[in-house]
Symmetry: none
Subunit: 379 residues, 2 copies
DNA sequence: ACTAATGTTGAATCTAAAT
DNA sequence: CATTTAGATTCAACATTAG
């Protein structure tokens, strides 16, 4: 508490009370604790607030195992209005803490991000980008009633419309992206394996731990070494861990003692990188998956076109939805290839051919054509 | 106007006034014209509302009157409120038009999508997915002060939270995507080249023409052939062109005569795909139910026969009434399958097998045999 | 000590028809 | 309306166990 009392006044020299709260985790409600910190003292805020998931009953996988849902108390709100009020309050407190050229990041899903984004705009922040985190390994949709929810959204905003001198390390981002501008869609795996913190009972320490790679790109793009990064929903401290490793200062606010304990131990074990190493952080792209529909969409295969195998034993028709059919039996290129041969599996890409002026052309070549085009535009 | 007057009443037989407005472009303000169409007459709405918010000196109100440069808080708040009111009004009119199991798509960028999404939720729609359109060839960021804005966001929502029977062609999407669930991030090139409509002066006919491939996936995923698709911001008619090609009906609403002229010519030139090409892979849910007793009645399974699971761990006896039993415990194929495994649920069709000369045969194959016979006699 | 097979899990607004 | 029953539904990463 002594620490906090010192921080409640803004008249102190920022350097003088630095040691009081810098690189610490403050326990308590984030709104009250943010109000106790000096105005204009933070360079960048990263916030991962509750998503207000509004889950119904239990969900089971096809093998009947139960999905471990996020049903924690901190994610329960009575109504949209309640959630909006909460969001407005913490965003207002956060804005007060930002330096004039500070920026804020907020991550969310479709459950909450539209409300967050609207309130961010209403409070006078200025949107710079919305960033899509494409999950390399998202949870499937188990009931087949929607598209697989394979991404989350981050909002990046400056404190004011006229704040033009915010930090954006354009060249570092471009260099890290094969000398192409860093796009607004980022591909990262979810946090799992050794990176995922475990409680003593072996279960996950926090239900929604974010991957360090995501935070690393956030901080490398929008902060400079020595900057102060605040995370008002600190959880198990991914923001603090990455900030420390990258030579940035952090401040965390968290209510739950168990999360704080885990976060502190995690951060204590972090060894900061030397400045030289900080210069470069690469990103790799995997060979992109190309759905068969892309060939239709790109005009390389027309709906209604005929596909045959290499020896012309079977002929199938391409349908508008990207399936192919023999008679009334429609399936994917793989399933139908397996079906006609009486096999369990078949690589449709190498099995099916398209008649062209220069003879039969395996559709795998058309897929390569798509990949070449994608590589050209840096997708 | 005569057309519209007929459409203002909901008492008419839907078939009778179909020809009046179906597959036409209605000229006028979308809110007024939507209010003149019969309630509950639309299966799917695709909306590409104006994004032109906060674009420096080029800010326009929804009525297209120009707003002076935004340079203070009051003015900015005023413009958000204006946009919100407009958004609420057209979404309300749109919701009235939807059938109970209808769904709506709205596309936008970070300038407007958060406001749209919040209002969609506030009006009682239920979010199903947010879909990210990743642009294969987005415009670069010229000043190097932000990430390249490489995506747009679509919201997909049902009319009500409890509307569970909306159309989602899960199996077709999966088959078209290499037999993997279709994700929420879609990759398409922007509309350019030959697909991009040109005005007589050679310049683009519409500033934000969407690619047909994007609309094709939207309609193939969430509509059935013959469905009615409304686009209240029709522009140069991408929605109508794709709907016609895919055997769906369209209704377009558009204010600008120049756009309507271009759209009508474009749509007139579209040749619909034949029905065969439009058929999609069948979903299991849509197949007729077959009671287990039908297998006994058809002689495919004899009363007293033994069923086992694939690994022979459990054996049950078939009873004449269509239940199966282990000892004295008789139940349906599903209940008993769940019971022996200690689970809440089980698909008995894929769990139980019958011993046959060529080894174990899953009873789901026998069900397929019944379905094939039913199809033969047109049942 | 390897490889192969099997099991576990992740921010999830996750069914449909018959009674 | 609510309740019951049928029966449809998963991908990638990682960990663990079996061979």
């Amino acid at each position: 508490m002594a620490k906090l009392r010192a921080a409640t006044t803004t008249r102190l020299d920022p350097q003088a009370d630095r040691a009081e709260w810098l690189d610490t985790i403050i326990r308590g409600d984030c709104i009250a604790k943010m109000e106790a910190l000096p105005a204009g003292s933070i360079d960048v805020i990263f916030a991962d607030p509750p998503y207000n998931l509004q889950l119904g009953g239990d969900l089971h996988r096809p093998d009947q195992s139960k999905v471990d849902a996020v049903d924690d108390d901190w994610d329960r709100f009575e109504s949209f209005a309640t959630y909006d009020n909460f969001t407005r309050a913490w965003l207002l407190a956060a804005r007060r803490l930002l330096k004039p050229n500070g920026t804020i990041w907020v991550i969310g899903s479709y459950h909450n991000i539209f409300r967050v984004g609207s309130i961010v705009q209403d409070l006078g922040f200025w949107l710079l980008n919305d960033i899509v985190w494409r999950k390399a390994n998202p949870m499937p949709n188990f009931r087949g009633r929607r598209f697989q929810n394979a991404h989350e959204t981050m909002i990046w905003a400056s404190r004011d419309q006229n704040a033009k001198a915010y930090t954006f390390n354009y060249d570092a981002m471009k260099a890290a992206n094969d000398d192409l501008q860093m796009r607004s869609d980022w591909l990262f795996p979810i946090c799992s394996g050794g990176e995922r913190l475990k409680a003593e009972d072996g279960r996950k320490a926090h239900p929604t731990q974010k991957p360090e790679a995501l935070l690393a790109r956030v901080l490398l793009s929008s902060t400079k070494p020595g900057d102060v990064v605040l995370d008002p929903f600190f959880g198990t401290g991914t923001t603090g861990a990455v900030a420390k490793r990258l030579g940035r200062h952090f401040v965390g606010i968290e209510r739950e003692e168990a999360y704080i304990t885990a976060a502190q131990a995690r951060i204590d074990a972090i060894e900061p990188l030397d400045l030289h190493t900080l210069q470069t952080v690469g990103s790799k792209r995997a060979e992109p998956r190309v759905p068969f529909t892309s060939l239709i969409e790109a005009g390389l295969v027309a709906p209604g076109a005929e596909l045959t195998d290499s020896r012309g034993r079977w002929t199938a028709n391409v349908r508008a939805d990207g399936t192919i059919a023999i008679g009334d039996h429609a399936a994917s290129i793989h399933r139908l290839g397996a079906k006609v041969q009486g096999l369990d599996a078949c690589n449709g890409w190498t099995f099916w051919h398209l008649r062209s002026p220069k003879g039969l052309q395996v559709i795998d070549e058309l897929r390569q054509e798509i990949r070449d085009r994608m590589a050209l535009v840096g997708a």
